[in-house]
């Protein structure tokens, strides 16, 4: 896949995430760094499931396919293709959702 095509996918996902979740992402870093792309994909899929946003999941899949073709996908501990399990309520990711204390 051409670099410009990957950038287009990343940019589209960036706009969707910004509009639907408020999350700001780094488009260029998304196509330059596999780990960052994997995290964005994980986040987009989690929000897609939580907020009933199928287009988020769709574009997350496209980004994943684009990045998987670029570099080997780490199998462990958290493969890109696997949706990240929901974090426990007390995890740092969820501890500060809707509350500070």
């Amino acid at each position: 896949m051409l670099s410009s095509e990957k950038l287009a996918i990343a940019a589209h996902l960036h706009v969707l995430l910004r509009r639907k979740t408020g999350r700001v992402t780094d488009t260029e870093w998304m196509i330059a760094n596999v780990d960052y792309a994997a995290e964005v994909v994980r986040f987009a899929r989690a929000r897609a499931a939580e907020d009933q946003q199928p287009d988020l999941a769709d574009w997350a899949r496209k980004l994943e396919q684009a990045m998987v073709g670029r570099a080997p996908v780490p199998v462990a501990p958290a493969p890109v293709v696997a949706m990240a399990a929901a974090a426990p309520a007390n995890s740092p990711e969820n501890r500060y959702v809707g509350r500070l204390r």
Binding site: T21, G22, N90, Y96, G98, L100, R101
Partner: protein
């Protein structure tokens, strides 16, 4: 919601008008005769004559007394207390709050606290002190001390101005001490609307709120002619005047501004809880000035107030920690810091009236109550009170004020508490704070707009409002 250009000019015109009014009134008052208290004219003598041996009648207004009648020890302690209380704001509250917000708004949070401190200081000098601490009606003080008019130290005459509230202290010291209370009250509210309120709106809201809400409530409770003071409501150091007042104003502000974008969906991770702990430490130590200083003397009552303050803080920290440990299965640094503040808040109205044993109970109850206030109650209210100002200060203030009515020991202070009287005071302050704060918010909204736009909120207020970045 940006203000229009027309609004900006109107706002400036209003500000200039208020300033002009103060400048017109202040010189007239300063030239008014009879600033010595009634009945004291005969006893007040020039420096060359000895002070009359007969005790002077109690002051009912601010007035001048011989310098020799000032207590040096009390004055020294009160100046120290003033510095301690100011440290609670600068940098105590600044660090406490900045550590809890997201990275992108840390500098804005600190800037708000610094700006609030500066603005309230000037307004206190201009009008706040007079409106709060000079006789007037039961609802509001007079204009006797606008721009600190008549607040004199006259070395050639050996005379110094004193307040009727604290005639053994130079009025300059008393006024400064009370200034630091006004400053911290306004600074506390910042925590409720942080990360989304325009900086200009913070200034306008704070300025109007200090004069229209804080000064009247302080007058009700602490000026002898105030209606709550006349009723016998007990508030040693500001449970109602400071904490309930700020807590309710914060809740109303947070509601009016609506939640932050992403609230309830995204994790708003605190920037650095180490800063919060540093701030909490400054609050704990500074609170000795807040409570023990409210004795207005370096005496046994101040000493006891210091003891009960410390015990309540410790109890609050431990009880919050215990509650959190049971509910969330692990204690947290933020919980410890929040609990100690909860204990300090609750003991504030009670510090001059209760025993150390009562302080332990009070702090423990407050720790648990405020934990619920910042968690369960917050969930019920569905208001994005960013840093739980209502949950900690509002709820803690209510708990403390009501328990003062129950725990006040006549052997300590010579006064008894009455739960009903305390409840009336709590209700009155909360109701007035809610309504008046809402009006001030609406007025600020009309003048300059309240909330930053979506892009600025996403970018972070450090860049959007100040063009600064925390670095690192």
């Amino acid at each position: 919601m940006r203000g229009l250009n027309g609004r900006w000019w109107w706002a400036m015109a209003m500000a200039v008008s208020v300033l002009a009014m103060c400048l017109i009134v202040a010189p007239a008052r300063a030239q008014a005769p009879g600033l010595t208290a009634p009945g004291l004219a005969g006893a007040v003598a020039p420096a060359a004559d000895p002070v009359a041996a007969a005790p002077a009648p109690a002051l009912t207004h601010p007035g001048r007394v011989p310098q020799a009648s000032i207590s040096g020890a009390d004055t020294a302690w009160m100046m120290t207390s003033t510095a301690l209380v100011l440290l609670m704001t600068l940098p105590g509250i600044a660090l406490f709050y900045a550590g809890m917000v997201r990275r992108k708004s840390v500098l804005n949070t600190m800037a708000c606290v610094v700006a609030v401190a500066a603005l309230v200081s000037v307004l206190w000098f201009a009008a706040g002190y007079s409106l709060a601490f000079t006789p007037g009606s039961g609802w509001l003080g007079g204009t006797q001390r606008l721009w600190f008019a008549g607040l004199d130290y006259l070395q050639p005459l050996g005379m110094v101005s004193v307040s009727h509230v604290a005639p053994h202290l130079p009025e300059s010291v008393f006024a400064m001490f009370q200034l630091t209370f006004a400053v911290i009250t306004a600074a506390l509210i910042v925590g409720a609307y942080v990360e989304r309120m325009r900086f200009s709106a913070v200034l306008w809201f704070t300025g109007l709120w200090t004069l229209l809400v804080y000064a009247p409530v302080a007058h009700w409770v602490w000026e002898p002619g105030g209606w709550l003071a006349q009723m016998g409501a007990l508030d040693f150091a500001g449970g109602s005047v400071v904490h309930i007042n700020a807590g309710v104003a914060g809740l109303v502000g947070a509601w009016y501004l609506r939640p932050r974008r992403g609230y309830g969906r995204e994790a708003f991770e605190p920037f650095n809880l180490g800063l919060t702990m540093a701030g909490a430490g400054l609050l704990w130590v500074g609170w000795f000035g807040f409570n023990a200083g409210s004795a207005l003397a370096a005496d046994g009552r101040a000493g006891l107030a210091m003891v009960v303050t410390h015990i309540a803080a410790a109890a609050g920290a431990l009880s919050w920690m215990l509650g959190e440990w049971l509910v969330r299965r692990s204690p947290s640094l933020l919980g410890l810091c929040s609990g100690l503040v909860a204990g300090l808040v609750a003991v504030t109205p009670a510090a001059g009236y209760i025993t150390p044993g009562s302080a332990l109970l009070l702090g423990a109850v407050a720790g648990l109550a405020c934990y619920w206030g910042a968690t369960g109650l917050k969930h019920l209210l569905k208001v994005d009170d960013s840093l739980d100002v209502f949950g900690v200060h509002g709820i803690g203030g209510v708990v403390g004020a009501l328990l003062t009515g129950v725990l006040a020991d006549k052997a300590v202070s010579g006064v008894e508490g009455h739960l009903l009287t305390q409840a009336i005071g709590v209700g009155a302050v909360a109701a007035y704070s809610a309504v008046a704060s809402l009006l001030v918010l609406w007025l600020t909204h009309v003048l300059v707009g309240l909330r930053v736009d979506e892009n600025d909120e996403q970018t972070g207020l450090d860049i959007a409002q100040h063009r600064e970045r925390i670095g690192g």
